[in-house]
């Protein structure tokens, strides 16, 4: 008798793989990365390469050491590497970037079980660790196009501190800052691409940016300046939409986004730190399991349980 394959239904699938999703995220990050290289020079590309390579190597070694399946093929380590690089100033020494990759991949991701299991965003946590460990190197902002003048890096304040950049410069990214966060336009293009491919939902970004703009407006700050400066667009579209560390339902994503916006505003307006995006996302990551508890889907035709 000829042997046939017996498996439970369904017998068909739509062939979207984890690596397809990650590849799309990488594609979406490319415009912002390209603009970063244009504004801050080729060292931006080099720094990104260092982050990506070290992330992939750490992931590979970690899985090997833990005797688990090799997961570098799912490209999630590449995504983490690119996002981490975009969160760093272009002048950062390479060895510090490797430390950041170690924190992101080994401590935040693999020690908690690998892809999908981490409770905090690897890139954000790495950025915060680097920020607290190497405050000077992490705030060494260079002026845009410094490399064209043929001089060594000239440092200047970020628009968040100076508060004097034009809207157009902010929108196009011709300001100081981390290498991937300055150009709001490129990040917006990437975010909308992901939304169009139904890879991310716009619930969290809209909640994030909306809450920040509204609160800034109420507090008498310039709302447009608030959302265009700093890492708001990078955080909102690429880190507040991370699958593993944000709520799974649309309701939950909206709550998450609003929370990010509120915390960012509080840190910026009342705190001594100029930038609050990273901390707001990390704090909301921690709250995610609780948000999930209260934002479950409404089940069709379910009776309310009496004991609850």
């Amino acid at each position: 008798m000829k042997k046939l394959i017996v498996s439970p239904s369904p017998h068909d699938e739509n062939y979207i793989k984890t690596s397809t999703i990650m590849l799309n995220v990488i594609i979406a990050l490319l415009p912002a990365l390209a603009v970063g290289c244009y504004i801050f020079g080729m060292r931006a590309l080099l720094l990104t390469a260092v982050c990506v390579t070290s992330c992939v190597v750490f992931e590979f070694c970690c899985r090997k050491l833990m005797k688990r399946d090799n997961t570098i093929g799912d490209l999630s380590a590449v995504v983490t590497g690119v996002i981490l690089a975009m969160n760093l100033p272009v002048t950062l020494p390479f060895w510090m970037a490797v430390v950041g990759s170690f924190v992101a991949i080994v401590i935040v991701k693999q020690l908690f079980g690998g892809i999908g299991q981490n409770f905090a965003n690897p890139a954000i946590t790495a950025r915060i660790v680097l920020m607290l460990s190497f405050p000077t190197a992490m705030t060494n902002w260079v002026v845009p196009f410094f490399y064209k003048d043929g001089i060594d890096a000239v440092t200047g304040p970020t628009p968040l501190v100076s508060g004097d950049a034009s809207y157009m410069d902010l929108f196009l990214g011709k300001v100081g800052g981390c290498l991937g966060e300055t150009c709001a336009l490129a990040l917006l293009i990437g975010g909308l691409y992901l939304a169009a491919r139904r890879i991310i939902s716009l619930a969290a970004p809209v909640g994030f940016i909306g809450a920040l703009a509204l609160l800034s407006f109420i507090a008498g700050d310039d709302p447009l300046y608030a959302i265009l400066s700093g890492g708001v667009f990078l955080g909102a579209f690429f880190m507040a939409t991370d699958y593993a560390t944000t709520p799974i339902t649309t309701k939950g994503k909206i709550v998450f986004g609003l929370g990010c916006g509120i915390i960012t505003f509080i840190i910026r307006h009342f705190g001594s730190y100029p930038e609050g995006v990273s901390f707001s996302i990390l704090l909301m990551n921690v709250l995610t399991p609780y948000i999930e508890q209260v934002t479950r889907t409404k089940i069709f035709g379910a009776k309310e349980d009496k004991q609850q």
């Binding site: 046939l4 439970p8 369904p10 984890t18 997961t71 799974i248």
Partner: protein, 425 residues
């Protein structure tokens, strides 16, 4: 009105324009005694007996059951043990055909005087849900609660299958006749014939036929899977919600498959019980995809050969659609009452399962609004309270969650396993 989630599938209705072909009489048939939901039948014949077309060859006293009839005339050669696709054991009657197809004297139009005699006749017809689930029709048509709406399920939302569609195109009078018959006998006021939008020919045909009749409404449903699932089609055609633990009849609705309705009409006219069925034969190993009308008990292998299938290349056989159909373990298994399709597949991509990345696609597609990713986690640690809270019992195994999962997690399967560890009270 809240819209239920659904997914867009590649319909692959390759056979929609293939008129049904009669499968030539096989030399022998193997008729299982258990082809529908309910209790299995006991064989009424023994080895050596002569049987005729339409003769009852299996029955039982259990009320939740349907008798079995022979579709051929010939001699019983064996009464053997038989394992169904679902894995249960029952008897099967093997008959060698004599080619004469002598019709039994029992085959005569039933006398219907009242509802009770109608329900009795429906049971004697051997009818069960022909859409694939195989719920006994006489039980469905005899609910304890008053019914005001009859929903005819003509969604046929699974890819490939066109068996119901061909029924509508080839026998529209039987469909309408069946609807009127059930409405009259059960005193149901209104009927909704629900068809997916990908069958415009059928919709046009029935709209024309029911122009004068206000009690039958043709409803065009969007082509979205699983549109034909009972709770989904009830909600989308009547707006009623079948609550947890309820039957459709509790909301005043009966859902009947369109081919079942047509069969009932033919049975009342001719008295010929359910001994043949139309099935769509397709899949990438099939050379000539067709709609075939075969005698129940015909082996799948012969049907595949009839459709020019390269038997050696087949590595997977599916009875039913690719979303909810069952894997057939053996090519020599027979066509049963619920076989609406036979898909012979020669490619199988056994992708590895990886970790859940919490992308939420399963949550987004579940028509019931369940959270398969969370159920998966709760099942892993056997957290029964959590599984109950997540209402895993409401899963109808439509398979949408597994279909969309990028990590290739078998979420629908996990839901079924999770159901099995919840104690029933």
């Amino acid at each position: 009105m809240k819209k239920l989630n659904g997914i867009k599938l590649n319909h692959r209705k390759n056979t929609e324009n293939s008129a049904t072909v009669d499968f030539p009489l096989p030399s022998r048939v193997k008729i299982p005694m258990w082809m529908n939901m309910g209790a299995p039948c006991q064989p009424l014949v023994k080895v050596g007996d002569e049987v005729k077309v339409g003769q009852k060859i299996g029955d039982t006293d259990a009320p939740f059951s349907v008798p079995v009839h022979s579709g051929v005339s010939g001699k019983v050669t064996a009464v053997s043990d038989y394992r169904t696709v679902g894995g249960a054991l029952c008897k099967a009657v093997e008959i060698e055909t004599d080619g004469l197809q002598t019709v039994s004297d029992d085959v005569k139009p039933p006398v219907i005087t009242d509802k009770d005699s109608f329900i009795k006749a429906v049971r004697e017809s051997g009818s069960c849900g022909l859409g694939g689930a195989g719920f006994p029709t006489h039980i469905k048509l005899n609910p304890k609660t008053p019914i005001d709406t009859l929903v005819i399920n003509a969604a046929e939302c699974e890819p490939y299958i066109t068996a119901d569609y061909r029924e509508m195109i080839e026998c529209p009078d039987d469909v309408i006749g069946g609807i009127r018959l059930v409405k009259e006998q059960l005193g149901i006021k209104s009927c909704k014939l629900a068809v997916e939008a990908n069958k415009p020919e059928a919709i046009k045909c029935f709209e024309k036929m029911t122009e004068e009749d206000d009690s039958i409404e043709i409803i065009t449903l969007p082509s979205s899977y699983p549109q034909g699932a009972e709770k989904v089609i009830i909600y989308n055609s009547t707006g009623r919600v079948v609550m947890e633990g309820q039957l459709p009849a509790d909301t005043g609705v009966i859902v009947l498959n369109v081919s079942t309705a047509a069969f009932l009409y033919r049975y009342i006219q001719t008295g010929m019980p359910l001994v043949t069925r139309r099935l769509t034969v397709d899949g990438n190993a099939v050379g000539e995809p067709k709609n075939v009308r075969a005698v129940i008990g015909t082996s799948f292998r012969e049907i595949m050969e009839f459709c020019k299938t390269d038997i050696d290349s087949v590595i997977k056989l599916i009875g039913g659609g690719p979303m909810m159909g069952m894997s057939i373990p053996d090519m020599d298994m027979p066509v049963v009452k619920t076989s609406n399709a036979l898909l012979a597949i020669k490619t199988y991509d056994d992708r590895k399962t990886s970790s859940c990345i919490r992308c939420g696609r399963c949550v987004r597609v579940c028509p019931m609004g369940l959270m398969p990713a969370d159920i998966d986690r709760a099942y892993k640690i056997k957290n029964i309270d959590e599984l109950k809270q997540l209402k895993v019992m409401l899963c109808m195994n439509c398979g949408s969650c597994t279909y969309v999962c990028p990590a290739n997690r078998k979420l629908a399967e996990t839901n079924q396993l999770a159901k099995s560890i919840i104690p029933r009270n």
